[in-house]
């Protein structure tokens, strides 16, 4: 199969979320993850604006301007949901109560450093939001991103070139061509797309990447974008 599209990438990450876990999904592609949960997983999605138990997006006729996620999308509340203020929402995030956060990224270094908040666009103001809190506070930080930039440059690097979000925080990276763990020994590929050989994977990585002994083929069902 060819490189995973964005929906398939979200699907792949969704398969690994533990049953019963509490998960925060970053803006953009990560929020799509909630669309592709296996049916046997009962998961609470937390949003930085204070909702624990974000449900599907609201229908046109059941929207409430005060039931939104951190990306300003009008959503619903699942059964068992609750709502707190920003202080308590971030206490939840920073106190280690979120099992997994799935975030987008610009770059990840082989020591787990993450750069995902500031791409250095000239004259545009900074936007950090809750990225640093999530990366530091969640028990596990997973990244969902294209393996390479649009220009083909590597995003998996020895050292991040863009401003850091947090040092040593990334545990796993889901991409369009591979699933990569960040280990004390650096990057380890767990799954690689069948049409991408290990040589190609290495050539598209900015630093050393090991191949797990039990490395599998990266697969996802057909999902249109």
């Amino acid at each position: 199969m060819s490189a995973l599209n964005r929906s398939q990438m979200a699907w792949r990450a969704a398969q690994d979320l533990p049953d019963g876990s509490v998960v925060n999904l970053g803006l953009g592609m990560p929020v799509w993850v909630s669309n592709y949960l296996p049916v046997d997983r009962d998961i609470f999605f937390q949003s930085e604006n204070g909702i624990l138990g974000v449900g599907p997006q609201a229908d046109e006729d059941s929207q409430d301007r005060n039931i939104v996620d951190a990306g300003s999308r009008r959503v619903t509340l699942r059964e068992g949901a609750s709502v707190v203020d920003s202080v308590n929402s971030f206490a939840m995030i920073r106190g280690g109560h979120i099992n997994v956060t799935i975030l987008g990224a610009f770059e990840v270094a082989s020591n787990g450093d993450l750069a995902n908040w500031d791409a250095r666009v000239p004259s545009k103001g900074p936007l950090v939001g809750g990225a640093m809190d999530l990366a530091v506070g969640a028990k596990a930080t997973w990244i969902l991103m294209q393996f390479n930039t649009k220009d083909g440059a590597p995003r998996l690097l020895k050292t991040c070139t863009l401003p850091l979000t947090a040092p040593h925080c990334v545990k796993r990276i889901y991409t369009d061509i591979a699933v990569v763990d960040v280990t004390p020994d650096g990057f380890v590929a767990r799954e690689i797309l069948a049409t991408v050989g290990t040589d190609e994977l290495r050539s598209r990585t900015g630093t050393a990447i090991a191949i797990a002994p039990d490395c599998q083929a990266l697969n996802a069902p057909e999902i249109s974008l």
Partner: protein, 225 residues
């Protein structure tokens, strides 16, 4: 004398805001923006304001009107990036050195404001350590984890939006409308709450989300539920 904190108009509640005031503005992700109060503040025209708001550029908040009116000289925010290709008014003034920006991770932002209201002058947090936003901050390790020292943020005036207010100043929010409203009200000398509805009776004790002690003026401005 019987307590009644309700006032007829936003203008009345905001009379006498001084030049140079530190003004906190609630709202996040489309919910909880005190836009009637922001309009009244813009019309009353104090200058040299420091704005403490999660975003300086959220399109649904009228925070930007204070900036466009040249009333603001400093912004403390977690988000300050305009959405369009063109520079926002904030970005233009920031680039021109007319507005100083302190960009703060959203959880440090909420926690610092909470600290301001709770009598905590400073606290340590791992969030921001090892990043540009943690530069020049004092660093100290706790249980092997490096942390930065963050100080409290306090203000002169909090502008918040709730759903229902009563004559005592108690406020009830609607779902994620709460966000920064509670913490900001605790951290400012004066708090003005705009609400959809101000009731004659009292909000039942167990439904109060922001206790009366933190609210000086309540203004009913209507608006959608």
């Amino acid at each position: 004398m019987a307590i009644d904190k309700r006032v007829a108009t936003a203008a009345e509640a905001l009379a006498g805001v001084k030049d140079g005031a530190v003004v906190m503005v609630s709202g996040f992700a489309g919910a909880g923006f005190p836009n009637a109060l922001l309009e009244a503040l813009r019309d009353s025209g104090p200058t040299g304001l420091t704005l403490v708001a999660n975003s300086a550029t959220h399109p649904l908040s009228l925070t930007h009107t204070l900036i466009e009116a040249g009333m603001v000289t400093k912004v403390i925010a977690s988000a300050a990036r305009g959405r369009g290709q063109e520079l926002s008014s904030f970005e233009q003034q920031w680039r021109d050195g007319k507005i100083e920006l302190e960009c703060v991770p959203q959880g440090n932002f909420s926690e610092r404001i909470r600290a301001g209201g709770a009598g905590i002058p400073a606290f340590y947090t791992p969030v921001g350590y090892g990043t540009e936003l943690g530069e020049d901050k004092e660093i100290r390790e706790f249980k092997g984890r490096p942390c930065v020292l963050e100080d409290a943020i306090t203000g002169d005036l909090a502008l918040i939006r709730g759903d229902v207010g009563d004559r005592f100043g108690n406020i009830k929010f609607r779902y994620a409308q709460m966000n920064f409203g509670v913490a900001m009200a605790t951290a400012c000398t004066t708090t003005v709450a705009e609400v959809r509805e101000a009731v004659d009776g009292a909000i039942p004790p167990v439904e109060v989300q922001l206790p009366s002690v933190y609210v000086n003026h309540v203004v009913a401005v209507g608006g959608e539920v």
